[in-house]
C-alpha cells in the first residue's frame, strides 16, 4: 500500500495541550480503548500499525496481541486483532501518520473521525508511543478517549 492511498494529514505541531497540574486520576487507570469505524471494531489502543502485506499483518497480530495490525485495500481497511481480520469502510474515518504518542493524542483530540497510524517500520516503537499517549492523557486529566477529545488545547500559527 502506498501512503497516498490513505487520507494523511499534515503535522499537528501547532497544537498544544493545556497542561493539567492536578489530574484527578492515576496513570494506571487511563483507558485507551477505542471504537473504530461504523463497524464499531473495538481496539484496546487507538493506534494502527500499517502493513503492506496481509499475511504479515495477520502473523504480527497473532504474535503481539492488542497490536492492531492493518492493511489498506482500495476503499476499506482490514484490521487484524489476535490473528483475526475485520474489514472496515475507510470512508467513515481518516487516517493520520503520527511521529509519536503525543501526536497520536493530538490527532485524536482535534477530530473524532481520525485514527492515528504508524508504518510497520516503527512497530518497535508501538509500546513507547502508547505509553506516551497514556501520559498525554494523564497530563490532561483524560480518563478515556472521549475525555481526551474535550481536553483544553491552544493553537499557534506558523
Amino acid at each position: 500500500m502506498k501512503e497516498s492511498q490513505t487520507s494523511v494529514h499534515s503535522s499537528r505541531g501547532e497544537i498544544s495541550f493545556v497542561h493539567n497540574a492536578l489530574p484527578e486520576l492515576s496513570l494506571g487507570e487511563v483507558d485507551t480503548s477505542f471504537i473504530l469505524g461504523r463497524e464499531k471494531v473495538e481496539l484496546k489502543f487507538p493506534l494502527l500499525v500499517l502493513f503492506s502485506d496481509r499475511t504479515e499483518a495477520m502473523k504480527e497480530s497473532s504474535a503481539r496481541r492488542d497490536v492492531p495490525a492493518a492493511v489498506v485495500e482500495g476503499g476499506s481497511i482490514e484490521v487484524f486483532l489476535n490473528g483475526s481480520g475485520k474489514k472496515i469502510e475507510l470512508s467513515g474515518f481518516k487516517m493520520e501518520n503520527v511521529g509519536d504518542g503525543i501526536e497520536a493524542a493530538k490527532a485524536l483530540r482535534i477530530d473524532d473521525g481520525i485514527i492515528p497510524f504508524i508504518e510497520k517500520s516503527k512497530l518497535e516503537n508501538f509500546d513507547l508511543f502508547i505509553k506516551q499517549l497514556r501520559i498525554a492523557m494523564f497530563l490532561t486529566d483524560s480518563r478515556d478517549i472521549n475525555a481526551l477529545r474535550k481536553a483544553p488545547i491552544y493553537t499557534t500559527t506558523g
Binding site: L22, E24, L25, Y154
Partner: protein
C-alpha cells in the same frame, strides 16, 4: 526492600548535579515574556529613588522576588541551603527549601532544611509534594514545618515529572481533596506550585479559595521532565521535554481565575522579566537556577552579590519606565504581541484589569 530514604537522598544529589551540568532548559518553548512590553508611565526616575520593596505576610521585603525551593535532604545540601539563606536574609527576600520528603523518611535530616538557625529573620517556605499528602496527615505536616520554623508551605504538584521519573508517583486520586484540607488545616499559608509545567486557569479556578497563593512555575526555564529524562536515560521524557504552559501565559491564566496572590516563576532570568511579571499582575517572581549557580561558584557571598545586582537592575529598569514603586508598576499600561495575544484570546484568560488598558496589539 529498598531503603527509601537512601534513594531519596541520592536523588537530591543527582538532581543538583544534572541541573548544574546538563542542558536542562526548554529547547524551543519560551516563557513568552518576550511578547510583553511595559509602556513608560512618565519621566525617567533615578533608580535610587525607586522603592521596589513590598509586603509579604505583613512584613516588608526588599523586592517582590523569592528564591524558589531547590534542595535539602542530603547532608551535602545543607551548605547550599545555608548559603542561600544567609544571602536572602541579608538582602531581605524569602527563600524556599526543596521537598521535605527526606526528613519525613529520616528526621535526622531536618537540619539540612533548618536554615533559620543562621538566618533568623528569613521568611522561609517549606516544601512538600502534593502526592505525599496522601501519606502525611496534617499533624505530621505541621510538625515538619515547625521543625524548620517555616513561615509558609509550598505544595508542589508535578505530574509531568512524576510520569517520566522511574520511581514516580503517578496516582493523583485524592490529591486535590488533601490540598484543600491542608490549605485549611495548618497554621502556615499554603502555596500551590508547579515545577516547570505551569498552572492553567482550570486548575487555578479549582484551588481558588482553597490555598493562599499559586506559584505557577511555568515553562521556559528548567524542565524537570528534562532532568528526569537524563536520569532515566530518555525512556519517555524526551517527547515531553516541551510540555507545559509558558510562564507569562500561566500567570495571566491564573490571574483570570484565582483571587489570591499569583507568583511567577519558571525561566525568570532578568530584571526585565521581573518588571513584566509585576506589570501583568504577579505578586512575586521566583528564581532558582541562577541562584544555585552563584552559590556553587562563590557561596553565600556569590548569592548576595547576584541578588544585590539583580535588585539594583530591577530598580533601575522600573525607574527608567517612570515608575517609582511596585504599586505604580502594577498599574502600568502593557502591550501584548503574538503569539501570547492569540493564546490569551483562545483561552479567554485576559484578566479584567488588563482589558481596560487596551491589552492586545495583534500583528
Amino acid at each position: 526492600m529498598p531503603d527509601e530514604s537512601r534513594e531519596t537522598q541520592s536523588r537530591k544529589i543527582e538532581h543538583i548535579d544534572i541541573v548544574l551540568n546538563k542542558e536542562t532548559q526548554y529547547r524551543s518553548k519560551t516563557t513568552l515574556f518576550e511578547c510583553i512590553e511595559v509602556l513608560p508611565g512618565g519621566q525617567r526616575i533615578n533608580g535610587d529613588d525607586v522603592d521596589v520593596s513590598t509586603a509579604l505576610l505583613g512584613r516588608r521585603i526588599a523586592a517582590p522576588i523569592f528564591i524558589s525551593g531547590m534542595t535539602g535532604g542530603h547532608p551535602a545540601t545543607y551548605e547550599i541551603n545555608k548559603n542561600i539563606a544567609i544571602a536572602a536574609s541579608r538582602i531581605g527576600i524569602p527563600m524556599g527549601v526543596g521537598s521535605q520528603r527526606a526528613m519525613y523518611e529520616k528526621q535526622d535530616l531536618a537540619y539540612t532544611y533548618d536554615v533559620k538557625k543562621v538566618a533568623g529573620d528569613l521568611i522561609l517556605i517549606g516544601n512538600m509534594g502534593a502526592t505525599k499528602l496522601l501519606k502525611y496527615d496534617n499533624r505530621k505536616i505541621q510538625e515538619m514545618l515547625d521543625l524548620i520554623n517555616a513561615d509558609m508551605l509550598a505544595l508542589h504538584t508535578n505530574p509531568a515529572q512524576e510520569s517520566v521519573q522511574p520511581e514516580g508517583d503517578i496516582d493523583f486520586r485524592g490529591v486535590y481533596s488533601r490540598i484543600c484540607e491542608v490549605g485549611k488545616g495548618i497554621r502556615q499559608p499554603v502555596i500551590l506550585k508547579e515545577v516547570g509545567n505551569g498552572i492553567s486557569k482550570e486548575v487555578a479556578k479549582k484551588v481558588d479559595g482553597k490555598v493562599y497563593a499559586i506559584d505557577v512555575q511555568g515553562a521556559g526555564g528548567t524542565t524537570w521532565v528534562g532532568v528526569e529524562t537524563y536520569r532515566s536515560r530518555g525512556a519517555y521524557g524526551s517527547a515531553f521535554w516541551e510540555w507545559g504552559i509558558p510562564t507569562a501565559l500561566s500567570v495571566l491564566e491564573s490571574k483570570s481565575a484565582f483571587h489570591g496572590p499569583v507568583w511567577a516563576s519558571g525561566g525568570i532570568r532578568t530584571p526585565s522579566d521581573i518588571v513584566k511579571a509585576v506589570a501583568i499582575g504577579a505578586d512575586m517572581s521566583g528564581m532558582a537556577k541562577p541562584v544555585l549557580v552563584s552559590e556553587r561558584k562563590n557561596g553565600a557571598e556569590g548569592v548576595y552579590r547576584y541578588l544585590d545586582r539583580l535588585i539594583a537592575d530591577f530598580r533601575n529598569e522600573t525607574g527608567s519606565l517612570g515608575f517609582s514603586s511596585i504599586e505604580e508598576l502594577k498599574n502600568a499600561k502593557i502591550r501584548i504581541s503574538e503569539p501570547l495575544a492569540s493564546l490569551l484570546e483562545q483561552r479567554g484568560a485576559a484578566p479584567k484589569n488588563l482589558e481596560d488598558r487596551k491589552l492586545f496589539e495583534t500583528a
